[in-house]
Amino acid sequence: MLERLENLSALYANPHRFMNLAARLHAPLWLVAVGVLGFGLFMVAGVPDDYQQGATVRIMFVHVPAAWMALFAYSFIFFASIVAVVLRHPLGYLAARAAAPVGAVFTLVALVTGALWGQPMWGTWWVWDARLTSVLVLLFLYLGYIALWEAIDDYGRAARATSILAVVGFVNVPIVKFSVDWWNTLHQPASVSRFARPALHADFLYPLLVMGVAFLLLFLAITLTRLQMEVLRQRLRVRQSEN
């Protein structure tokens, strides 16, 4: 299994082969992502009001998937950076760089929709509790990561520095996830990950899971688009340096 994975990794470590694969995957991935998102929004339109939260429960269907993607994107950057440093995979750095703005946008969406949900339900847009603060730190990590890429002219040095930041910053991901268990927070604890007995009724759970899959597919589609852009920019850098 591991050997197969290494062979596959080696096969697509070649950016030219990767670009051929990406060109074939690009349009179908976008079509599936938009289709699943449309189906998810159709399901959300039929969701009943919650007995406590009323119609504001509909904010959950964008807020929670965006928060999942905020964590997933940073984990993606972490693993891509590890692969780049340890396996010297040439696409690792580019994949991490491509995913960072996408993760930052999902984090911003989670924060803004959270504030828009918090005001009617908690009576405040923002509190400095552990969950909200750690997600804000996550946004700053994304912005710092993007700024570091832009701040260093030498590609090799920038790649190494950003990888170190990605790996060190990953410590914040479990803090975000478990902050609601480790500290007393205004933010509610996990409702969906308790698969044995989820705290959500099926009327809310299934549309939420479909929206989660839609956001995941959107993340992958946008990152694939940006990764192709990064590979082409890298080719440009190399050719310009040769001249």
Partner: protein, 46 residues
């Protein structure tokens, strides 16, 4: 009663995701153009 909060959430999400999608496709198209222009220039030199 809570319509503003719900519509604002969906509108901001659509705006933010729409913006990153537009910027990404624009960046990809621009990178393709610049690479093609560089190749044309190099072919012209050759």
């Amino acid at each position: 009663m809570y319509d503003f909060y719900i519509y604002a959430s969906y509108a901001f999400t659509a705006f933010a995701l729409g913006a990153i999608i537009a910027v990404s496709f624009h960046g990809l198209a621009r990178a393709r153009q610049r690479l093609a222009a560089l190749q044309d220039m190099q072919n012209g030199d050759g």
